[in-house]
Subunit: 335 residues, 2 copies
C-alpha cells in the first residue's frame, strides 16, 4: 500500500510526469505508452494519494454542508440531492451537523479557511449575511438554501414562503375557517418570519382580523408542535384550523388531538409544510406544501461546482422555487 507514482514510473519505464498524464487522462500520451503505464498501475494495484494531489492542485474536491439537524427529513432530503450531484461530479460531501448551535456553525466555517473544503453550502440561519459576505469577498465559495444573500457571487435557492403561506391560509378561509392559528418555528429563521408574513397577508386581504394570540412557536419539531397546540387550547380562544410551519409540528398536533379526542378535520383542520415522506401515511393524510427538497439540493450543488470550475457562462445564481399546496384529508372539509 505504500506504492507511489515514482514506483509505477520505474516499473513502466517512464517518468513520473508520464504516469501523471495517464492518471489525469492527458491527450499527449501515445497509445503504447498509455498501455504500458496502465498495466503497471493495474499490476501494482496503485492508488494515487489524493492528499498530495489536493495540495498540489489546490482543490480538495470536497464540499461542506452545514445543516441544523441531519435527522430532520427536510435537511436529509436536501443533503441527498447535494450528495448525488456532487458524486456525479467527483466531489465528496462533508456533513456538518450544527445542532442549532451558533458556535458549531461558525467553527465549521473554518473548514473553508483551512482549505479542507472547496466550498460550503449553508442551509442554516445562524450565520449572518455579513459574515457570509465577508467570506465571499475573500474569495471563498458559499451557497445557501432557504435565504437570499445580496451578493453577486452567492448561489441562492429558496422558496416563496409568503406566496405559499398565503395559499395555505386562503385554502383554509375558503373552507370556511375564520380563526386560524399559526405554529411558527425557530424565531430567527427566515422560514418562520416569512411564513408568518404570508399568513398575515392572507388574513388582511380577506378582511380577517390578525390575532397575535393565535400564534405560537413550536421549534419545528414534534414535541414543540404538541406543546404549542396545548398552549393554544389553554388560552381558551376560538380557532378551527391550524397552519403549521412544518410537518413535524403538525404531527405533534395530531398526537394532542388523539389524546383529547379532537377530530381532524371535523373539529380542527390542519395544514403543514414540507411534504415529508410520512405526511401521506398519517391518518387523516396531512395537507401540506411540497418543496422540491432533493432538487433544491442538487441544484445548489451544481451551481457551486460550476462556480468552482468557473463555468460562469451560466449567470443565473438566484432561484426562487415554486412550491405546491397539496390538499389532503386533514384540511379538506368545509365547515
Amino acid at each position: 500500500m505504500d506504492i507511489k507514482i515514482k514506483d509505477v514510473a520505474k516499473t513502466a519505464g517512464v517518468s513520473v510526469a508520464t504516469v501523471s498524464r495517464v492518471l489525469n487522462g492527458s491527450e499527449l500520451v501515445t497509445e503504447k505508452t498509455r498501455n504500458k503505464v496502465q498495466n503497471a498501475i493495474d499490476q501494482m494495484n496503485y492508488h494515487p494519494n489524493a492528499t498530495a494531489k489536493y495540495l498540489r492542485s489546490k482543490k480538495t474536491m470536497t464540499i461542506g454542508v452545514i445543516v441544523s439537524d441531519i435527522n430532520v427529513s427536510y435537511y436529509a432530503e436536501i443533503v441527498k440531492g447535494i450528495e448525488n450531484m456532487a458524486y456525479s461530479r467527483k466531489y465528496k460531501v462533508i456533513i456538518c451537523d450544527a445542532q442549532n448551535q451558533q458556535d458549531k456553525e461558525v467553527a465549521y466555517l473554518e473548514l473553508l479557511l483551512n482549505r479542507t473544503v472547496d466550498a460550503m453550502i449553508l442551509i442554516t440561519h445562524m450565520v449572518s449575511d455579513e459574515v457570509i459576505n465577508e467570506f465571499v469577498d475573500n474569495g471563498y465559495h458559499i451557497g445557501v438554501i432557504g435565504r437570499f444573500i445580496d451578493s453577486p457571487k452567492v448561489p441562492c435557492i429558496f422558496t416563496d414562503n409568503v406566496k405559499f403561506s398565503k395559499q395555505v391560509v386562503e385554502h383554509l378561509i375558503e373552507r370556511g375557517h375564520r380563526n386560524i392559528a399559526f405554529l411558527s418555528g425557530y424565531p430567527d429563521a427566515l422560514d418562520s418570519s416569512e411564513r408568518l408574513e404570508g399568513y398575515i397577508k392572507a388574513l388582511q386581504e380577506h378582511q380577517l382580523e390578525y390575532k397575535p394570540e393565535l400564534i405560537e412557536n413550536g421549534d419545528f419539531n414534534e414535541e414543540g408542535g404538541y406543546k404549542a397546540f396545548k398552549r393554544l387550547l389553554d388560552k381558551n380562544i376560538t380557532f378551527s384550523a391550524i397552519y403549521s410551519a412544518n410537518d413535524e409540528m403538525a404531527l405533534g398536533v395530531y398526537r394532542a388531538c388523539a389524546e383529547l379526542g379532537i377530530q381532524i378535520p371535523n373539529n380542527i383542520a390542519i395544514v403543514g409544510v414540507d411534504n415529508n415522506r410520512i405526511s401521506k401515511y398519517l391518518n387523516p393524510r396531512l395537507s401540506t406544501v411540497n418543496q422540491p427538497k432533493y432538487t433544491m439540493g442538487a441544484l445548489i450543488a451544481e451551481k457551486i461546482i460550476d462556480q468552482l470550475n468557473e463555468d460562469e457562462f451560466d449567470l443565473q445564481r438566484v432561484f426562487k422555487i415554486d412550491s405546491e399546496l397539496i390538499i389532503r384529508e386533514s384540511s379538506d372539509f368545509k365547515i
Copy 2:
C-alpha cells in the same frame, strides 16, 4: 488569504518550525516566543493549510460513513452520533449515501485507498465480509454497525436481533395472538434474517406453527410496508398481529388499516423496531424496540478514532447492544 507559515515566521521573527510548534501546542516554546508568534498569527489572520498538514502528517482527520439512505431516521440518528463524537475529537465526517447500490458502496471504499479518509464506517450490508477483511489486512481501518466481522481489528456494534425479536413475538403471544405475521426488510440484510430467526424461535418455543405464508418483505420503507400488508390480506389467511422489522413499514400498515377501517390494536396488533422519533406520535402510539442509535454511532466513532491513534489499551472491539421493547397502545390489548 495566501499567507503561509513562512510569512508568519518572518513577521514574528522566528523560524517556521517555531510557528509550527505554536500551532500544534508544543511544550518546547517559551511563553514569550509563543506570544510573539500568536500575535503575528492573529494580526495576519493566518489559517494553516490543512491539506499540506494532511500530506505531511499522513492523516486526514476525516472519517467516511457509508449508509444506505441518509433520509432514513435510523441512519441519520447513527450519523449524528458519529458526527458528534468525531467533532469532539477534531475529526470530520464524509457522508456516503449508497442508495442501496452496491457499485456506489464499492466506489466509496476507494476513499480509503486514496487516503481521502483515515477510516470508514459501514452501516450497510452489501459489501461482503471478505472485502472488508481484505481492506483490514492491508492496514486500512474499518468499523461496522449492524453486523459482526470475524477479524480482531474491526470494531463491531450490533444489537441482538434474535433476542429482541423473540421478546416482541412473546409479547404478542402473551396478549393472546396465535397467528402473527412478519414484515421483513432487504432480503440480504442481517437485520432481516436475524429478526426472522427470532420470530421463528419464539413460535417454536411456544409450540406455535411457523407458517411461511405469514412472511412478507416490505423493503424497510412505508410504501413497502403498505403493500406487504395488502398482500397478506389478499392471501385470505388469518392473522391478528404483525411484527414489522422497522417502524417505517409499520407506518405503511397504519395507513392501510386506516383506509380499510381496521382498528389497531383491537382488530390487529402491531409492533415495529427502531423507536423512531415519530413512533410515539402516531395514533395509536406504536409499540417498538428501542435501539440506542445515537449511542451506537458515537461508540463506533470513538473506537475507530482510538484505533487510529493506537490507544489500544482498550481492547474491546465487539459490542452487543441491548435493545428494549417499548409496549405502547398499538399492541397493548389482550384478545
